[in-house]
């Protein structure tokens, strides 16, 4: 879509875009280019510039068991937390959309968790899921040693997933509810007249009509699980125990800023960037399809 009526003096037009362009050049394109450069070079330990090493950084990263462990952990985290957050939100949104008495309350409250900072909710869950105080302690009293995120990698992963899903249920809920409400009431009523029940209507009308939203949220949730997990991991587990929750962004941070391995961190960043770009491209293909859908 283009404007028919525009302003003639285009030099002024460009001036309006200059602040944004300066910002994205300095803080987006330059660093992104720098990451590519660093990933292909190796910084000399005592200064003296970078030497060109080609793809060596990538080779050493990809042959490192720790890195593959981090990728596996990220994928497990992404799949489980996305699945949990989306299924719970879908059920809650579908039920809220039935508009029974009191549904306004859920519309208001279910969104709250999304407003909370990841580290703050991580702190809350660190207490709630602590093995010696809080609520899992009750379970531990019945079955001693059942739950200990400080020692057991699987427990630590579960805690991080619970905290993340809690936040993103609210987020997904907003989008699912908007999608359900966009379906014309007359469609649902016509189907009810024809004698289809609630389940049948959900399966044959509502669910197919919200598939675009499902794909959209799938991509957003996975992307967010790569980035928004940092605060949760840092507060709850610090990547441990034994690297069980050392997710990709956390590893980039600890390698780059604690291990001062800029080249390795840059190579990891590039791999993560490619992953996210691939996901975004998938998302755009579905957006194209959504246009056909209506």
């Amino acid at each position: 879509m283009e404007k028919r009526v525009t302003f003639g003096r285009w030099t002024i037009g460009i001036l309006f875009a200059v602040p944004q362009l300066l910002l994205i050049f300095t803080f987006f394109y330059w660093p992104a280019g720098q990451a590519v450069y660093w990933s292909l070079t190796l910084q000399q330990p005592w200064g003296g510039g970078n030497i060109w090493v080609g793809l060596d950084n990538f080779r050493s990263i990809l042959s490192n068991a720790d890195y593959w462990n981090s990728i596996t952990a990220s994928l497990v985290f992404a799949a489980t937390s996305t699945g949990l957050a989306m299924v719970i939100a879908l059920v809650l949104a579908a039920l809220t959309d039935r508009q029974l008495a009191g549904s306004w309350l859920y519309r208001v409250v279910l969104i709250w968790p999304y407003g909370i900072a990841a580290p703050a909710l991580a702190m809350a869950f660190r207490f709630i899921l602590a093995p010696e105080a809080g609520f899992m302690a009750v379970v531990n009293k019945v079955w001693p040693g059942f739950w200990d995120p400080g020692l057991d990698g699987a427990d630590a992963m579960a805690s991080v997933i619970i905290a993340f899903s809690w936040k993103y249920v609210g987020y997904n809920f907003i989008f699912f509810l908007a999608a359900f409400q966009a379906i014309p009431r007359s469609l649902i009523e016509a189907a009810a007249m024809d004698g289809s029940g609630v389940i049948r209507r959900f399966r044959d009308i509502q669910f197919p009509l919200i598939t675009p939203t499902i794909f959209f949220l799938l991509v957003i949730n996975i992307t967010e699980s790569f980035q928004d997990s940092f605060g949760i991991v840092d507060i709850m587990t610090a990547g441990g125990p034994a690297n069980a929750t050392n997710l990709m962004v956390y590893k980039i941070y600890s390698d780059g800023f604690k291990g001062l391995d800029y080249s390795g961190a840059a190579a990891q960043s590039i791999i993560l960037m490619l992953l996210i770009i691939a996901l975004t491209i998938v998302q755009f293909r579905f957006i194209e399809r959504r246009v056909h859908y209506r």
Binding site: K3, T11, Y114, G115, A117, V169, V249
Partner: protein, 304 residues
């Protein structure tokens, strides 16, 4: 409701109520834990009746993590990011929509691509740029031979350097440098009728006049939505402030939370930790509750 389904309605209420509990319980538990004393908070199971030490704990958390100045820093940063986004995005969208100039589509795509890569992913090199924001320009001068030329002609060696670590601009600017708001405005500007522009031009209004007096007042809803979303987003930033504020005087409330994690081996002071968590959680929660309409609207509009 189209038909009578008493059993299903019962289960609907049941499941929704469970969801409600699931969402609210952590807030309630944090608030209750913040009101206990050291012994009660570590009781198994912890009593769900509020204790009497709420204000004492809030005060202790406040002073231990020095939350007063930290909250102020968080506010400054969140307002800065929200205001920056609202202004810069409006300017850019105006330029893209209301002008025809060569390279307009290139600019559009350059901005669009920034949506793909969040700050967390390119964190290491962005940190290096903020350590000296003029480094990109220095490098360009060096590469094009301009700095050599300047040195030959004037005898001045070009050394551009401006560090933004531990400064508000260093915190805020990189967070403003994405496209989120631009597309929100663009979609809206495209729906503004052309007749309005024609009328304004006929009355002799130039581009700037039209932008300030007509377009901006019309976009008030968009500004509120974008501002709310960006405020929350900035308030909740963690990794970025953690990296670039090595100096305590610029630390954020959210990053200070880490100070309150009970030490292994020491007394598990969960009541203080939870009081601090409550303080940090509260401002964004209040914004969500008060600005719910704008929040939901902004969320749906910025992502799609």
């Amino acid at each position: 409701m189209v038909e009578r389904t008493p059993i299903l309605n019962f289960f609907t209420h049941l499941i929704l109520f469970a969801g409600f509990i699931f969402c609210v319980a952590p807030f309630v538990i944090v608030a209750i834990a913040a009101s206990h004393n050291l012994k009660d908070v570590n009781d198994v199971p912890m009593s769900l009746l509020p204790g009497s030490d709420f204000w004492v704990n809030i005060k202790t958390a406040w002073t231990t993590a020095d939350l007063g100045p930290k909250l102020l820093n968080s506010f400054i940063m969140a307002f800065g990011v929200a205001a920056g986004k609202v202004i810069v995005s409006a300017l850019t969208a105006f330029s893209i929509v209301y002008f025809r100039y060569p390279g307009r589509m290139l600019i559009f795509w350059l901005i669009f691509i920034t949506l793909m890569l969040p700050l967390e992913v390119r964190i290491v090199p962005t940190y290096a740029v903020v350590a000296n924001v003029l480094e990109p320009y220095q490098a360009i001068l060096d590469l094009t031979g301009l700095s050599w030329l300047i040195e030959k002609v004037s005898g001045v060696q070009v050394q551009l350097s401006l560090g933004l670590l531990n400064s508000y601009s260093g915190l805020i600017l990189p967070l403003v440098a994405t496209a989120t708001g631009t597309f929100l405005y663009r979609q809206f500007f495209l729906t503004v009728p052309d007749e309005l522009t024609e009328a304004a031009r006929m009355d002799g209004a130039g581009a700037l006049r039209f932008f300030v007096d007509i377009l901006l007042p019309l976009s008030r809803n968009n500004m509120a939505a974008l501002g709310t979303i960006m405020f929350l987003w900035a308030w909740n930033q963690y990794l970025w402030p953690l990296l670039i504020t090595t100096d305590q005087s610029h630390a954020m409330a959210v990053t200070e939370l880490k100070q309150l994690i009970p030490n292994v081996g020491g007394a598990p002071e969960w009541h203080i930790a939870m009081a601090g968590t409550l303080i940090v959680m509260l401002p964004p929660l209040i914004v969500v509750v008060l600005m719910q309409r704008w929040f939901v609207r902004g969320l749906i509009a910025t992502e799609k």
